[in-house]
């Protein structure tokens, strides 16, 4: 038997009360682990999310639009954001 973890499509709702949005995919052995993996993979910069996972081969639709998800700054991991680093003006755009 092929032992590759199934592929899951991940949908996430930010805290602004919007619909769940497709954010990407990942692999997981089952739905519960897919939700946990989604939390770790796709909410590294978010807060207050709701996650839906659907096994990819159960989806019968074309891929969604390409707008990026809304990110909420994470207070405890501010270094993930470029503005955390003070780059002198003389250096130019970075």
């Amino acid at each position: 038997m092929k032992n590759e973890w199934p592929l899951w499509e991940i949908f996430i709702r930010g805290q602004h009360g919007m619909s769940h949005r497709h954010v990407g995919s990942l692999h997981a052995p089952d739905a519960e682990m897919a939700i946990k993996n989604a939390r770790d993979v796709y909410t590294r910069r978010n807060e207050g999310v709701s996650i839906w996972v659907v096994e990819a081969n159960h989806i019968a639709a074309s891929s969604p639009s390409d707008k990026g998800p809304l990110y909420e700054p994470s207070e405890s991991k501010v270094y993930r954001h470029p503005t955390f680093f003070d780059i002198p003006d003389e250096v130019g755009a970075m």
């Binding site: 990942l26 993979v41 405890s76």
Partner: protein
Amino acid sequence: MTREDAFTQFLLQMGDNTLILGHRVSEWCGHAPVLEEDIALANTALDLIGQTQMWLGLAAEVQGDGKSADDLAFLRDAWDFRNVLLVEVPNEDFGRTLMRQFLFDAWHSIQLGRLMKSSDERVAAIAEKASKEVAYHLERSADTVVGLGDGTEESHRRMQEALDYLWPYAGEMFQSDEADAEMVKAGIAPDPASLREEYDTLVSRVLTEATLTIPESRFAHKGGRTGAMHTEHLGHLLTQMQWLQRAYPGAKW
């Protein structure tokens, strides 16, 4: 022992546990069995490093001699560390790493729950923030222990071996001494021994679901949380972790 010394020791215990475990977990980055686990382990390590900054930051503040959390992390020798031995044992395979994580997370989540009611507001605040992170750590490590324990024959065998190896290190988390008595008196922290019953219930529920057998022996290694005797592993860990700070004293990074 003065209350201040006892308080410092308690804060070092909390901060050194997260520091050393965070370090161990970070060793997996780039080497995990699957990308999703690699990312999840890094999240756990990041949470633990963040908690370290808070606990050791407060320890430095209480000590009041102008030191920083970094000074405590990078410039103390092994005998000054107050983490339990459990967190300093090497990762070995993924099974031992996750079993160690689970045995620690179970204690950690109970401990933080109690600390949220600490008479010291700073302790309560750190515990509140950390408890949310640790609730997730526990959920994830427990699920993984169950999945691997009740997985294949090989994964079951490896998880049982991990449990057999690590179980003698679990007991130290519940040992009390006079510093703990001082913390209980001040209402700052619970008596470690008082956590054992809840811990045993939690751990045995998960390990039963994982089809694993808890060793009968209650023997417990000790010496980490008092600093009396660490394992040989801690020194090696520190030589790596502290190397730059030791080799280039006073440099800013």
